[in-house]
Structure formats: structure tokens, C-alpha cells
């Protein structure tokens, strides 16, 4: 993650987490996207991608892998949240979807306070530096269903609202840091080739998941290859989506509720769906 960039307009340098050039005032970049566009990152990803394709060819799985790549290149960014949170967001387009840091700083939510919490914060600092407070997390999904460990409502985001400010990452970034024993230092040795721009998410999925595709893999298995819920959130397997900046109900395309519709809860869900529909958000 670059800590500073040269403003493309005035050619002066400015630092994270500025969202505009402080010198000329021109709108700035999304820092996570800049990091994913780094030539060294892209080159490393390309090497992983080509190696995965070559391996698939040697197993006669290249056609299926191509099919898988086409599917995941159209995957959606999904955030799973509680009914209450969706209800709040659906109530008005002035309601913002907050990040973990915004919630804890505002005193609305409490940090978990365990070693996982520390790991999460360290991973965010390594990946996003001073921009971590602006990053919203989601996952890639083919069927629009996210990770129920985070809530029974899967919010599918509108691609046109997030593609320019989103990047994707190999897996749960906190788990990634721990598994690879990434050490804190002035210049942390982050392996390259594990993040991609939104437009290149298909490549990252191929690089990561090609070994799970063989010559007999049916296309209806792609969804669970891309995303698999674990017994607890730590064991979830998914491609993480990092979205820079604010989101509202107008960022949503669809909400899929996986919770059972029983008794009075069914009425509450009907009311949420009614409100979502007023903002043009489909619900099912």
C-alpha cells in the first residue's frame, strides 16, 4: 500500500488518507485500488494466474477452468448483515453503512477485545495503513448469498457503484497475515500477487481456486468453490472484497434474506422489503 502518491493534476505529492489532493483540491484516489494497480502486484498475480492455467491444462481441466473464470469474472460483491442493520439502512438514503472502526470509535459497538481483534487491526494496518477506517468488507459471491456468520441478510452491491473503488483479496486478510506469519516492520514483507482490482477479480479467483476445478467439475459447484461458510467466521473460505468509502441503501442492488420467515419476524421482513423496494432495491 503506497503511503503517498503524486497528484495526476498538479504533480505534487500527497499522503494517505487524503481523499483529495490538499494542494489543488482535485478528487483523489481510492488507496486500496492504487495498491492493487501497482505494477509489481499485477505482474505477480499474472504469474500465479498463468501457472494455474498451465496446471489446469496439464490436468485437461483448462476448458472447465475457462468456464469458471467467465463465471467468477461476473461475480458480485456481497455483505452479510443483520435484519436490524438492513432495516436501518432501508429507512432512509441518509443512513450510512459504517465500518468497524467508525462503530467502535462512536461507541456504538464494542471491540471483541481478544487476540483475533488485535490480528484484525494489525492486518488492516498492514493492508490499508491510514486508510483502514474507510474500508468496508465484503466477499465475492456467484449466487448473491454472502457469509451467514455475519448476518442473515445478504446485501448484493450495485457494480456500477463500487467497481471503481473496490479491490479483491485472496482470502480473509487477517487469516492470510497469520498463516503467512507476516511480521510488523517499517517495510512489511507482504507477498505480492494476492490482490487485484475489481476488473481483474476473475484472474485472482483462478489463481486461488484453479486446483479445485477438474475436467468433471459441474458449473453448479462454482458457487461453493468460490465461497464456503465455516463453522465459525474464522473458517469461512472466500475472496475478500475491499470497498473504499461510504455506502447507503442506494449502493444496494438486492437483499437476500436467508433467515426463516416465521411469525412476527415475517411481517418485519415484509416491511423491510417494502422500504427497500422504494429505493429500487430488490428483495427476496
Amino acid at each position: 500500500m503506497p503511503l503517498s502518491i503524486i497528484c495526476p493534476e498538479c504533480k505534487n505529492e500527497y499522503r494517505q488518507p487524503a481523499e483529495r489532493c490538499p494542494h489543488c483540491g482535485k478528487p483523489g484516489p481510492c488507496w486500496n485500488v492504487i495498491a492493487a494497480e501497482d505494477p509489481a502486484e499485477r505482474a505477480a498475480l499474472e504469474r500465479r494466474y498463468q501457472a494455474a492455467k498451465a496446471d489446469a491444462m496439464s490436468r485437461s481441466a483448462d476448458r472447465n477452468l475457462q468456464d469458471f473464470e467467465s463465471a467468477v469474472a461476473g461475480s458480485k460483491a456481497v455483505i452479510a448483515r443483520s435484519e436490524i442493520e438492513v432495516h436501518r439502512l432501508a429507512s432512509s438514503d441518509r443512513q450510512l453503512y459504517a465500518t468497524y472502526y467508525e462503530l467502535t470509535e462512536a461507541g456504538i459497538s464494542l471491540p471483541a477485545g481478544d487476540e483475533w481483534d488485535t490480528l484484525r487491526e494489525l492486518a488492516d494496518t498492514l493492508l490499508f495503513a491510514k486508510s483502514k477506517k474507510h474500508i468496508r468488507f465484503g466477499c465475492l459471491s456467484l449466487d448473491g448469498i454472502g457469509l451467514p456468520n455475519y448476518g442473515p441478510c445478504s446485501i448484493v452491491l450495485r457494480e456500477e457503484m463500487i467497481s471503481h473503488r473496490s479491490s479483491v483479496f485472496e482470502e480473509n486478510s487477517a487469516v492470510f497475515m497469520e498463516r503467512r506469519k507476516i511480521k510488523i516492520s517499517r517495510e512489511p514483507k507482504m507477498p505480492k500477487g494476492y490482490k487485484a482490482t475489481w476488473g481483474e477479480r476473475g484472474k485472482l479467483c483462478v489463481a486461488k481456486l484453479a486446483t479445485k476445478i477438474d475436467s468433471t467439475t459441474p458449473s453448479d459447484k462454482y458457487s461453493e468453490i468460490l465461497l464456503k461458510q465455516g463453522a465459525i467466521s474464522e473458517y469461512d473460505e472466500f475472496v475478500e472484497v475491499h470497498i473504499y468509502g461510504a455506502m447507503t441503501v442506494l449502493t444496494m442492488d438486492q437483499v437476500i434474506v436467508t433467515a426463516p420467515r416465521k411469525n412476527q419476524r415475517a411481517t418485519i421482513l415484509k416491511a423491510i422489503e417494502f422500504k427497500l423496494a422504494k429505493h429500487g432495491v430488490r428483495a427476496s
Binding site: 436490524i84 442493520e85 456504538i108 483475533w116 412476527q264 411481517t267 417494502f274
Partner: protein
């Protein structure tokens, strides 16, 4: 075992010798092992977390069911009041709400609804009409009470807003105090006094018996300021409100005793401290009026007043002062007479 419960998420987290397990209100028999990092995802924004200490699983199930029913009832109430929603959804919400309105749920729901006046956007008239159409008497009675109490709710709420933040210590403390005061029914109790000075005093003096409220930062100062502001506003709502409400309740069908309006509290009715109902002289702010009144008491009487104000009952005061319980009652009675006399003297001087 300790437990955390949240009605809005319908989940409980059991903490037993370092082991974490959760269950959902719909399936309490299914226990799922958890780790601390799951905490945030189990409870969402955690606005309604409640801690149960030294408890057992049956109690946790019972409390979770109650909190979940309360959260559902609040959601359904808000849906039924929402004019933006389709009438069918609002009617369905009203019917669902009626099924949930049993004694404790009614009280908990009113604790929240009476904490702030309804916003202009809330369509109480429409909701009342829909509930009458649906023939759901419990909801009709709830809406009737809510409508009738709106002026008092506004006044209690406005009095709360006059308390300076510095009295609470910080904005965070202020917000926390308000949350607990609403949840524990303090707003509701004050609303039910209809701003009657003597009843306000009794409600406030009973607060110290509430374990949740008495641990809040500077609770005594906050409550004194609140009571003073409420009285200083000067408008006392007559008993007609309650009489009308009870008459309405009697004519409603299928009501249970729990649906009837509760008195301020049993303690309020029986308390030896029942000051005469007076309007504060307009020329003197209520807080100063009260302070000046108490200054005229002897140190012993002031101590007795303080102990009673702090929520100690006659038996407890007797132990603290090393006198008998009847003696405490007798002194309390004398104290009341003195206060009554002082108030009457004040009124005469003001006239």
C-alpha cells in the same frame, strides 16, 4: 454461569468457566461453541445487550424470550405507526403485536415509547384506526394510552433535555443514562405521575432502589435536576387523564389485568413521603425552591430526608440510625408535617 442476551438479535451467549456457547431464541436447545471474535457478529450493533450474572440456562432462555418479544413488539409498533408502509403490512404488524402484548412486554414496550414524544411522521391516528378495524383490544388500549399521554411525554422529555451535559459528566454518560433510564422505566414512571409534584418526588426517591440506575454517574444530581426542571415547567396534568384512560380500559374487551395502566409504583402509593401537590412559585426556580425548603429542616431531619430520598426503606433506615422501625415511621410522619407546613407558608408568602 454468566450470559449476554440481545433481544434484537434473538441470541444469548453463555459464559461458563471460560467456555463460550450461544443459542438462538427460536432453537434454545441447539448450543453452538463460540470464540470471543464471534462476539461482534453474534450481537450486531449491540445496542440492547444485557448481562445476566450467576444465572442458569433456564433463566437465560426465559429472559431471552422476553427481550426478543420486546424487540419484536417495538419493531411491530414502529411498523404499525409508519404511514409510508402499505396498510396490509401495518395491519399484519398490529395483529402480530397484539399476540405479544402480555404484562411484562407491555411495560417494557411502554418504557421505550414513553421516553420520547412521537415524531411528526408517526401516524398514531391511522394505527389506531387499523387496530380498531382489526378488533385487537390490547393494541387499541396501548395506542389510546400512548395518544393520551403524548402531552406529558413531551413535558417529561423536554425536562430531560434541559439537564446540562456537564451534570452527566460527558455526552457518553448522558447517552448511557438516557438509555438505562428509558429501559428501566423511569421516563414512563414520570409520565404516569402526570407531573404531579408529590408523585414526581416519590418516583425520583425510589430510583436508588434500582440497581441499574443507582450506579450511573452522579445519578442523584441528574435526578434532582430533572425533577426540578419538570416541576419548574409548571404544568400539571389533571387526574382526568387517568380516569378517562381507566374508563376506556373497562370498556375494552378481552383485556387482561396486565393491560390496565399500572400505578406509578406500589411504593409511591404507600410511601410515607407524600408531599402536597403544589405548583412551584413562578418567581422561584424549582431547584432553589426545594433546596431552600430543605435548609429549613434540622440536620437530623435532613439526614432522614436524604436516606429516604436515596431509596432506603424504614427498616433499613432504622438499622442505620440505630432506632426502631416505628420510630423511623413516626419521624418520617413528623418530617412530612413540617414540609407541608413549610410549603403552605411558602404559598401564603407567594400569594
Amino acid at each position: 454461569m454468566d450470559a449476554l442476551i440481545s433481544g434484537t438479535t434473538g441470541r444469548a451467549l453463555l459464559v461458563d468457566v471460560g467456555q463460550l456457547k450461544s443459542f438462538d431464541v427460536d432453537d434454545p436447545s441447539k448450543l453452538v461453541s463460540r470464540r470471543p471474535s464471534d462476539f461482534a457478529y453474534l450481537f450486531g450493533e449491540m445496542r440492547d445487550l444485557r448481562v445476566l450474572e450467576n444465572t442458569d440456562i433456564e433463566s437465560v432462555q426465559h429472559e431471552l424470550k422476553h427481550d426478543s418479544d420486546c424487540a419484536l413488539a417495538l419493531d411491530l409498533t414502529l411498523i404499525s405507526l409508519d404511514p409510508e408502509l402499505a396498510s396490509e403490512i401495518r395491519k399484519e404488524a398490529i395483529e402480530g403485536l397484539d399476540e405479544l402484548l402480555t404484562g411484562r412486554v407491555v411495560e417494557s414496550l411502554e418504557n421505550i415509547l414513553y421516553a420520547r414524544p412521537l415524531t411528526e411522521a408517526a401516524d398514531l391516528a391511522g394505527a389506531s384506526k387499523l387496530s380498531a378495524h382489526a378488533r385487537v383490544t390490547r393494541v387499541s388500549a396501548l395506542f389510546h394510552r400512548l395518544e393520551r399521554y403524548q402531552p406529558v411525554i413531551s413535558q417529561v422529555s423536554a425536562a430531560w433535555d434541559t439537564i446540562p451535559t456537564k451534570v452527566f459528566g460527558s455526552y457518553d454518560h448522558q447517552a448511557a443514562f438516557q438509555r438505562v433510564a428509558a429501559r428501566e422505566g423511569l421516563f414512563r414512571s414520570l409520565v404516569k405521575t402526570r407531573c404531579d409534584w408529590s408523585k414526581v418526588f416519590v418516583v425520583i426517591s425510589n430510583v436508588s432502589r434500582n440497581g441499574h440506575l443507582k450506579h450511573l454517574h452522579d445519578h442523584r444530581k441528574v435526578l434532582q435536576q430533572w425533577a426540578a426542571s419538570l416541576i419548574a415547567m409548571g404544568h400539571q396534568f389533571g387526574p382526568g387523564l387517568e380516569a378517562e384512560e381507566q374508563s376506556y380500559e373497562r370498556t375494552s374487551r378481552e383485556l387482561t389485568p396486565n393491560d390496565l395502566p399500572q400505578p406509578v409504583s406500589q411504593d409511591a402509593e404507600d410511601s410515607p413521603i407524600a408531599l402536597p401537590s403544589v405548583h412551584t412559585p413562578e418567581t422561584m426556580p424549582a431547584a432553589r425552591y426545594l433546596t431552600d425548603l430543605l435548609k429549613q429542616l434540622s440536620p437530623e431531619d435532613q439526614m432522614l430526608f436524604d436516606l429516604t430520598f436515596d431509596g432506603y426503606d424504614a427498616r433499613e433506615i432504622a438499622v442505620m440510625l440505630g432506632i426502631s422501625e416505628p420510630a423511623v415511621r413516626k419521624r418520617n410522619s413528623r418530617l412530612m408535617q413540617k414540609l407541608r407546613r413549610l410549603v403552605q407558608q411558602g404559598e401564603r408568602a407567594h400569594a
